[in-house]
């Protein structure tokens, strides 16, 4: 029983530590995301979005008359840490809802926990179709899905630019393998021949792979590598002469926007294309404009990584649902989420209720294809938003 006393002691210590937080009456929402690991920059982007969203929501009176509090749990981009972190948010921090995530493999582990523990979970930036196609009642996604990005953006862009031969490099994760296969099928249907390769996302040396790619003579390389692995890939594609013949598309986006992108890739980074839901200058809604101003004021720089804005939207959707449900009961929250019709930075958020496929509980925000031209972002696709033409 000594052990029990020790645990009680730990609990008391925890209580004292969290005393100030517990004294205030707040509504707690959990956020999961990688603050460490290969995509730790996403965690940093999430933290920025969280700060802005909390300020925004609380300045408008909070939720149900209480202040909104966000508890961030690091997943390190590892599914096991994600699942246990999710559970910890629910059992220890007693959050009413969880949102976030930007690794599909982590999200797929988390939706199981969400479903088991009956906690509403809004996935923000994990794209694998399976996340929503499992049709779990408690799982929503307010962000891109693999099939959505491929069918609405990437495949159409490949056709739009009249590429002849495509090479697909995908990392060995749920997101990479999934989006790689979808792309292969979609562009084959459009009559563009392609070849695929699976790679390790933490690999630092891509010379052998790039030699194989070069032998295929593609005019576009679709790289689905999330994390700093993309930087190595782009730099070495330049060194081996692959990028002088083919345009490279970063199919995730943020890695091309991270602060150390230019440091790691040097001059080889120019003319690289990437997917994004945010452009440096172009804004789609008033809220997006507000977001840019608030961001610039808070952090003294312009927002680059669009995932900070994705989590901002996610928190707004969650706070809106709690306010409308006027309760923290899971089932009431799900009902409220299903009725969401909210203006966000990326347009009107609304979840589809059509069961059976990946559309269930899914809201697909619009995406852009952008190219670095002399370190400036030029929107290439969709044509109605384009600010320039592709350069080779």
């Amino acid at each position: 029983m000594k052990c029990k006393r020790r645990i009680t002691a730990v609990a008391v210590a925890l209580l004292l530590l969290c005393g100030s937080a517990w004294a205030q009456d707040t509504i707690k929402i959990g956020v999961v995301g990688p603050r460490t690991g290969p995509a730790a920059a996403t965690g940093a982007a999430f933290e920025e979005g969280i700060k802005l969203a909390t300020e925004y929501v609380n300045s408008k009176g909070g939720v149900m008359g209480k202040k909104l509090e966000i508890v961030f749990e690091d997943t390190a981009g590892a599914p096991d840490k994600a699942a246990s972190g999710f559970e910890r948010l629910v059992t220890r921090d007693k959050v009413v809802m969880v949102l976030g995530e930007s690794h599909s493999s982590s999200a797929l582990a988390e939706i199981e926990v969400a479903n088991r523990m009956k906690i509403p979970f809004i996935v923000v930036e994990a794209w694998a179709d399976e996340i929503t196609s499992k049709n779990y009642r408690y799982v929503f996604r307010a962000g891109p899905s693999n099939s959505g990005v491929v069918s609405k953006t990437i495949a159409k862009w490949v056709v739009h630019e009249k590429f002849k031969r495509a090479f697909i490099v995908a990392e060995n994760t749920d997101w990479g393998i999934g989006i790689g296969k979808l792309t292969e099928n979609a562009i084959a249907k459009a009559g563009v021949p392609s070849e695929s390769m699976i790679t390790e996302r933490n690999s630092q040396d891509h010379y052998v792979e790039l030699t194989k790619i070069k032998a295929f003579k593609p005019d576009v390389v679709l790289a689905y590598i999330y994390g700093v692995g993309l930087h190595y890939f782009v730099a070495q594609a330049g060194e081996t002469g692959v990028s002088s013949k083919a345009v490279t598309l970063d199919g995730a986006g943020p890695p091309s926007l991270w602060p150390d992108y230019w440091k790691n890739v040097g001059d080889y980074g120019d003319l690289e294309c990437f997917v994004s839901s945010m452009h440096e200058k172009v804004e789609l809604t008033d809220l997006a404009k507000h977001y840019r101003e608030a961001y610039t004021k808070a952090f003294g720089k312009a927002p680059t990584d669009y995932k900070s804005r994705s989590i901002f939207d996610g928190i707004l959707i969650a706070a809106d649902a709690v306010s409308r449900a006027k309760a923290t009961d899971a089932d009431k929250l799900v009902d409220a989420l299903e009725k969401t019709n909210l203006k966000t930075t990326r347009g009107m958020a609304k979840f589809s209720l059509e069961k059976g496929g990946a559309e269930y509980h899914q809201w697909e925000p619009p995406m852009l294809v952008i190219q670095w031209q002399n370190k400036q972002q030029v929107v290439l696709y969709p044509p109605e938003a384009a600010t320039g033409k592709i350069k080779h």
């Binding site: 599914p79 559970e87 220890r92 493999s105 582990a109 199981e112 994760t173």
Partner: protein, 318 residues
């Protein structure tokens, strides 16, 4: 401590452990279940490092073998997890036997290097064979029971830990245990007294590997998600640190180490991901200044037993 007294105390502790989770919430229960997993891992690693003087860096890898073997069989072939865990245990034992026979004749340092290499190979295989293992994405495996229940898991893990600990206890206090310690103390002298050193070492490595495989199998079916984090050097480090801090070469040391460090890890987590660094520093200081761990320190500062006074007595004439 006499055998009877020890038995009585361990029975009392066991009874305490049985009622302990009843008053606790889900979160502390989870912490206890993970602690019990580490008790099994640290105690069986201690059999190697503490009792036969072989440092294996592949103990976590063996847990991974157990977890993946059972997980793949259950998830892909629909085999009952309990059968899977048994098969995983056997597989870990066989791999332990093979690795031990391969490198132990060259001496302990080869075992350390080969086990390190083995855990790396295993990682590469798991990552590459994603069709089978789902790589870093993690393999979702079924639960051990129809209705997921933390309390039931707690009792399963407790029973497993008691089983492992009693096997270890019997082993250490048998002839085999004496041979283990003789080999650790002085390989050459042990050999000159008829101890089959290679056999003893390979046996210890095989048994410890089997135990890690067993613990890993159970752990995988508790987490419901088997990832390369189970056979990782990080987990290996936890096991090592728990054993070193608790007290290598003692039966209770690793048990105390496992509980203390795992609970401490949960506590430190509130301040960020520093617990590995903190453990590392504690383990470094303990390993350097108190090679017998916290338990050794405690023993050292206990009042000197009369037996130790003999040290000063003159040697009697024959």
């Amino acid at each position: 401590m006499t055998g009877k007294k020890a038995l009585l105390i361990s029975m009392l502790i066991l009874a305490g452990m049985c009622v302990l989770p009843l008053g606790l919430g889900i979160y502390p229960q989870h912490v206890l279940i993970v602690s019990l997993f580490y008790v099994m891992m640290a105690s069986s690693w201690n059999l190697l490092a503490g009792y036969t003087g072989q440092v294996s860096f592949g103990h976590a890898a063996m847990a991974g073998i157990g977890a993946y073997a059972s997980g793949i069989l259950a998830a892909k072939a629909g085999i009952n997890p309990w059968i899977g865990i048994c098969l995983g245990t056997v597989l870990a034992a066989l791999i332990g036997l093979g690795l031990g026979a391969l490198c132990l004749k060259m001496g302990g340092i080869y075992l350390s290097l080969t086990t390190l290499a083995f855990s790396q190979i295993l990682h590469i295989i798991i990552v590459n064979e994603y069709d089978l293992t789902r790589g870093t994405m993690g393999l979702q495996v079924p639960s051990l029971m129809a209705e997921y229940d933390k309390l039931v898991y707690y009792y399963i893990m407790l029973a497993a830990a008691v089983l492992i600990l009693s096997i270890l206890y019997r082993m250490i206090h048998s002839n085999l245990g004496l041979n283990f310690r003789a080999v650790q103390n002085d390989e050459l002298a042990a050999k000159s007294l008829g101890v089959r050193v290679l056999q003893v070492r390979v046996l210890a490595f095989t048994v410890a590997s089997a135990m890690a495989g067993f613990a890993g199998g159970l752990y995988g079916h508790y987490l419901l998600l088997v990832t390369p984090e189970i056979p990782s050097l990080d987990l290996q480090f936890y096991v090592l640190a728990m054993t070193v801090i608790g007290g290598m070469g003692s039966f209770i040391g690793p048990i105390i180490g496992a509980f203390a460090l795992n609970i401490l890890a949960e506590k430190i987590r509130d301040y960020g991901e520093y617990h590995v660094l903190v453990f590392g520093l504690i383990a470094l200081v303990v390993a350097r200044f108190a090679p017998n761990g916290l338990l050794g320190l405690w023993k050292k500062f206990k009042p000197i037993k009369p037996i130790q006074a003999v040290k000063q007595k003159a040697f009697p004439t024959p």
